[in-house]
Symmetry: C2
Subunit: 186 residues, 2 copies
Amino acid sequence: MSLKHGLLGLLNYGSMTGYELDKAFKDSLSFFWQAKNSQIYRELDAMERCGWLTSERVIQNQKPNKRVYSITDSGKEELTNWLSSPESDIADAMRIRSAFLMRVFFAGERSIDQSLEMLRTYREQCTESSKGMSAAQDIISEYGAVVGDDRKAEYWKLVALYGEVFYDASLNWADKAIALLEEMKR
Amino acid sequence: MSLKHGLLGLLNYGSMTGYELDKAFKDSLSFFWQAKNSQIYRELDAMERCGWLTSERVIQNQKPNKRVYSITDSGKEELTNWLSSPESDIADAMRIRSAFLMRVFFAGERSIDQSLEMLRTYREQCTESSKGMSAAQDIISEYGAVVGDDRKAEYWKLVALYGEVFYDASLNWADKAIALLEEMKR
DNA sequence: TTAATCATGTAACACGTTACATGATTGC
DNA sequence: GCAATCATGTAACGTGTTACATGATTAA
C-alpha cells in the first residue's frame, strides 16, 4: 500500500491534480518508489472511493480541465496510522530483490570475461548513481532553506544519504567481485 | 522474467518437481528473489507451453503423484541468451524501492522519538541480517567443497557477500540517522 | 495426537507496466 | 514545423500475494 501512502503524504502538503502529483512523485519519492501516471490515476480513484480524498473538477479554458484532489480528515488519520506501524516495512526492507544478483548466481554458466564485463558496467552505474545521490543532498539543503523547513529537509536528506551509502557499498562490492574474477582467470 | 530464468537455472542443474524447485528456490535464490509455490506452478505451466520445459507425470504409491520437469534445448538456449544480455537488470539494480525509506521521507509528520524507535528496530534487523549473510558464506564454502564445484560456489558466495555488504551499509546509515535525530532532540 | 513432509494445484485479488487516445498551447 | 507541456484517462497484460483444498505418511 505504499503508493497510496506516498500520495497521501504529498497531498498532506497541499491539494494537487493527478498530473501535479505525478510530477511531485518523480521529483521526490521516485528515488525510492516508482509509479506510472496510469497507476497514480487508478489509485487516486480507489482512494477517493474509500474516503481518504475528495476531488473537484476545475474547468479551464485554453487548457484541459483538471481535477484537484484534497486529503480528508479520514485520509490524514490513515496517514498517521500508517506512520505509526512501520514493522512490516522494516521486515520488507530486509528483503533483497535483484535480478542482477540472480545473474551473478548463475555466472558459472558462462565465461569469466562475460561476467567481468557485466560487473564493470554495473560498477560504472554505481559510481554515477552515487554522484547523483550526493548532488541530491545539496539540492535538498538549498530547497529546505528556500521553503524554510529545515526539519523536514533533514529527513529528505537522510533518504538521499541512504542512496549514496547504498551505491557506494554496491561499488565496493563490485570492486571485490572484479578482483576475485581477475584472480580466477590466472 | 526473472522468476522464469531462476527456474530455468535450477532445472539446468537437473530435473525436478515443482515441489523440489520450490525448496531449491528457498534454499538458494530466495536471498535475492522470492516466490510462492502458487506462482512457481503457474510459471512452470507457462514455460512448458512455450517449449522451455517438458514434464512427465510419475505415479507413486503411498505418496501423491508428481510431475518432473526437465529443461529442453530451447530452454537452455533461452538461459544462455538471458545471461548474455544483462543491461536491463543492471539498470534495474540502480533502482531502490523501499517503503521503509518512504516512512523516513515523511518522518517530519511525527515525533522524533517515534522515528528513533523505528530506526533502532531497523538497525537491529540489519545486524541480524548481516550475521545471517556472513554465516551463509561459510555454509556455501562447505557445500562447494562437498559437491566439488568451487567455481560455482565462488559466485554463490559473491551473492551472499553482497548481502553482507548491503546490510552493513544499511546499519552504518542507521547509526548516522540515529545520531542525527538525537542531535535534533537537543 | 499433532505437526511436518510430500505434492499438487485453483481462484481471486493486488499491484505494476505498456501502449494507446485526445487535443490545445507554448517555446525553439 | 516539431517537440514539450498541460491534463486526463482506458485496456490489456504481467507479476506477486493470499487463502484455500486435498490426503497419505512419518516423527515427536
